[in-house]
Amino acid sequence: MKAVVTVVGQDKTGIVAGIANELAAYGVNILDLSQTIMSKTFTMSMLVELGGEDSFNELHAALKEKGTKMGVAVHVQREEIFEAMSRI
């Protein structure tokens, strides 16, 4: 399944590396990545490929924890939710 990982928070060194390392540790492949500063806020979205429901739940918990440690908000959501809202 494909999921979108978003990271929003105050810019500082090591955010991309921190998240990417966590993804690598779980064997998750990054398909697409976009990072920008929106209204002075670090904003990154990644499209990732991962296994089934169980691996989603594990990754979800791990990235949330990582985000808390780094002081940024991390979301992991399956990509269909964004397609549903933005495309007919």
């Binding site: 979108v4 904003t43 499209l47 399956r78 990509e79 939710i81 964004f82 549903a84 809202m85």
Partner: protein, 447 residues
Amino acid sequence: METSQIIETIKMFEEDNFDIRTVTMGISLLDTVASTPEETAKNIYKKITTYAKDLVAVAEQIEREYGVPITNKRISVTPISLVAGSANEEEILLLAHAMDDAAKEVGVDFIGGYSALVQKGFSHGDLALIHSLPRALTETDLVMSSVNIGSSKAGMNLDAVKLMGETVKKITDLSDTANAKMVIFANAVEDNPFMAGAFYGVTEPDVVINVGVSGPGVVKRALDKVKGESITTVAETIKKTAFKITRVGQLVGSLAAERLGVQFGIVDLSLAPTPARGDSVAEVLEAIGLEQVGAHGTTACLMMLNDAVKKGGVMAAEGVGGLSGAFIPVSEDAGMIDAVKAGTLSLAKLEAMTSVCSVGLDMIAIPGETPATTISGMIADEAAIGIQNNKTTAVRILPTNGAKVGDMIDYGGLLGTAPVMPVVDKSSAEFINRGGHVPAPIHSFKN
């Protein structure tokens, strides 16, 4: 996919209080009828706990995977008066307890359908159910009730209107809050996922998943961006926003139905407020350009809002049903509460607003000494609006013993707090005590 679109979607959930208000499993109880009420109660418990055993877990997994808050998981069942058979008042309570026990076992927030449809008259089971309501609603925790007393096709059962006014008073004598669990309808719909009025119609299949979506905060934010522009733009903005949020309901509903292996029914897009600031229908009306809800022009804004919400929703989902539109409960909406406290919003204005919203007089606190016949008068007025205009109307009114006008009553959680509102002190008794049946309007003869 643009990052800005992704962030916009996340903001809707995090900042605008957008939620799937409910995933409601509708379960037919027609095949649970047995020769004794004890056996029927057992069958009801068994069927509900079998069909809905995975409902909460599946909904929670969808919440996690898609980052969509699903506030409530609920069950609606066939109106109990239809499965009660020859049960008397005491026996029918067994069925209320079976519903309550089953709901607790599967972990849902509410179960609706302790209901009777009496628009044309009472059956034995209907009367047993209505007479049991004060006990059923105070002895159970999760059971919700509704009684339909009129329809555009059948007219209005004035005997039922009188009986329901008396029932509201009897419930008040046992509990200040239990009336929040009962809705008195005209033109009740059979696929409504929202409480307290959800029941599962007899023409529905054995089991379905219906979804209720809410999001007044999202609409408010969208309207803040078109300040000063023409009302045409406002209508279009609401329509587009309604489309987006209904799409999420469609996605969640179809996923839930697929994972539970049942049919997907409908999405009900209703702007249903919660007491949280920024999750208010009143604030949406104010964003259209009213200083405060209740100002002249409120009914016009609400009419436009309700219609635009329906239009946006209809295209976004395979099946749209339920009540779909805007809810205007007082206690559950911070902006409505402010307007009542300020004296801007009166009961009379609320009644006018119900002629163009999707439901009716909802979650309104009134003094405990209000006579039963006056409450019946309110029920009759609401039903008249619904019957004559081919729409659903409802009354959920909360008399509070010992409370006087202006007192604040706390109902807890999503039910919020309500200021006690004044009621006209002239009597409706002679009208209500006539009893009988108000004939169906002339335009009901369409056949």
